[in-house]
């Protein structure tokens, strides 16, 4: 598949900080890619550069074969950015029509109202919408030009559960039609369920890149959690073979291990005072935490 977004050895420095370091990426057409990373990892800076809002200090960025700020790219790209307020004294419908006028082949108004679920609110002033509705309006504006590439920067911040569900349903429907989607999010379960590729960024560098399953498997960690009884003291667990990490939260204990089958046998054999035992494969959340911590060491 052709690469629609290319970053080659991109560096971004400003005000003395090195926000992005030697970042190289190839994103293929029709994929949904999630950029994950802790706050300040360089996700938003990366998206800003891909959109041509910021220029890289070094390196090259190509969008659909050209520079991000040229007219062809502008026609084919849509984005939900963070911290953008809605425009005052215009209705939902007027705002959508304004954005539709910028593009050569806009999506029909009815379609935009449907994917944002704002049919009933179309004649309300945009400023009177709730936080979640405003975010859905932002989504409609991002989709106004029927973009080939869609950037979603923390799209569900401020959405309630209902808005969030509706939103991901719409995004999934969009992704099916050959659109390339790049998203950043704090909600890892969202990335896990929608993305077919996850790129973990920390301190401006890529530290992991693969499908959600690969990222999870690469960490190879499974977990045993249980409730510790009165008799169990932290030192009772010390020295047991096969425990990679132990975390106490009150009486709740989480053990991480590469071989939970062997570890559970050990725990039983030692006849420890534990109950409510659960064994689970680590989620994306755990893989992510392990990656970030591993990178910091």
């Amino acid at each position: 598949m052709p690469s629609v977004i290319t970053m080659e050895h991109v560096d971004k420095e400003y005000k003395g900080t090195h926000a992005v370091k030697d970042l190289s990426l190839h994103i293929e057409e029709g994929t949904v890619t999630a950029l994950l990373g802790p706050n300040g990892a360089g996700k938003t800076t990366t998206v800003s550069m891909l959109l041509g809002l910021q220029k890289p200090t070094r390196g090259q960025i190509r969008i659909l074969g050209g520079s991000p700020d040229q007219p062809e790219a502008r026609q084919s790209v849509g984005a939900m950015l963070q911290d953008i307020s809605v425009i005052d004294r215009l209705t939902v419908r007027e705002t959508m029509d304004l954005f539709r006028s910028y593009y050569v082949n806009p999506l029909p108004l009815a379609h935009l109202l449907a994917i944002s679920g704002l049919e009933k609110e179309q004649n309300k002033f945009a400023t009177s919408l709730s936080g979640g509705q405003k975010r859905r309006l932002d989504f409609a504006l991002a989709m106004a030009g029927d973009p080939k590439i869609l950037y979603l920067d923390e799209p569900t911040v401020g959405m309630d559960v209902g808005s969030r569900q509706l939103f991901w349903e719409s995004v999934r429907a969009m992704a099916g039609k050959g659109r390339t989607i790049i998203l950043t999010t704090h909600y890892l379960d969202e990335a896990d369920s929608i993305a077919d590729r996850i790129i973990v960024i920390n301190q401006g560098k890529v530290i992991a890149d693969g499908t959600p399953a690969e990222i999870k498997a690469a960490q190879g960690h499974k977990m045993i959690t249980f409730t510790a009884g009165e008799q169990l003291r932290p030192d009772s667990l010390e020295g047991l073979p096969g425990i990679a990490d132990t975390v106490w939260s009150g009486r709740k204990v989480k053990l991480t291990s590469t071989d939970t089958d062997q570890l559970i046998r050990t725990l039983i054999q030692h006849n420890l005072d534990i109950r409510d035992i659960e064994i689970s494969a680590g989620g994306l959340e755990d893989a992510f935490q392990t990656l970030i911590q591993g990178d910091a060491k």
Binding site: Y14, L51, G52, L53, Q54, K55, P71, R74, Q75, V77, A79, L81, D83, I84, S85, I87, D88, R89, L90, E94, D97, L98, F99, S101, Y102, Y103, V104, L141, G145
Partner: protein, 246 residues
């Protein structure tokens, strides 16, 4: 990209007309002042010109100055600080269209204000100018407001909307008073009259008053207005370039 330009202008005009501040400061206040001061002062003459006609030009100028400075400054500041400008930048709308559409729509609004004020003067106060005088005065006020639009753009580069709102009000009120738009300069002390010679607001009003007095165009006044427009435009372009450089 005519389509996007027209849509952008249409949206801007809708937003202005729906703004209560605009209605109060640019329509209601000038009309009120006009009725109050033409009724209380009666049939006097200022510099050989009928007061009712003289003051109609003053208040029309006052109204369009207010609308231009207030609307443009607040809107630019608001849209820049609230991220709207960033969102527009990633659309295909060309960079210049955004600013140009704001200036053009303000011009349409100003033209409406001028016609409205002139109709009030003609029908409510029986002001009888020749068609040529109406058109010359109207065109002068319509085009001569350009330095004040540039001033609005300059004030719009401030980063706080609240500060811009207060600053715009202070600037336009003091320019109007000191420029003799509220009360003719001849009622002011000599020192104020001397200062007013260098103010764009006085030169702006003077152009229209001169038409009523049958005096030809004052090139010094035109030069001063053009200089102000140029300085404000250069300053705001410079400041914006610096803010955008990341």
């Amino acid at each position: 990209m005519m389509k996007s330009m027209i849509a952008q202008c249409k949206a801007e005009i809708l937003r202005t007309v729906r703004n209560r501040r605009f209605i109060v400061f640019s329509i209601v206040m000038p009309v009120m002042f006009y009725f109050i001061f033409t009724s209380t002062l009666g049939d006097i003459k200022v510099g050989g010109v009928d007061w009712k006609a003289y003051y109609l030009m003053s208040m029309t100028a006052f109204g369009v100055i207010g609308a231009s400075i207030n609307t443009l400054s607040v809107r630019f500041a608001q849209e820049r600080t609230q991220g709207w400008v960033r969102l527009i930048r990633i659309t295909p709308l060309p960079n210049g269209s955004y600013v140009l559409s704001k200036i053009l729509s303000q011009s349409v609004i100003n033209l409406g204000t001028i016609v409205f004020m002139f109709l009030i003067g003609h029908f409510a106060k029986g002001i009888d100018l020749t068609l040529g005088e109406w058109i010359t005065c109207g065109l002068w006020i319509w085009i001569g407001v350009l330095p004040f639009m540039a001033l609005g753009t300059l004030l719009g580069t401030f980063k706080s909307v609240e500060v811009v709102q207060v600053a715009a009000n202070i600037v336009y009120m003091s320019l109007s008073v000191l420029g003799g738009l509220w009360m003719p300069l001849t009622t002011m002390p000599k020192i104020m009259q001397d200062i007013a010679q260098y103010l764009p607001s006085y030169r702006f009003g003077q152009g229209a008053w001169n038409v009523l007095g049958g005096v030809g165009p004052d090139w010094t006044g035109i030069a001063i207005l053009a200089a102000y427009a140029l300085i404000f435009m250069i300053l705001s372009t410079y400041i914006l370039k610096r803010q955008e450089a990341v």
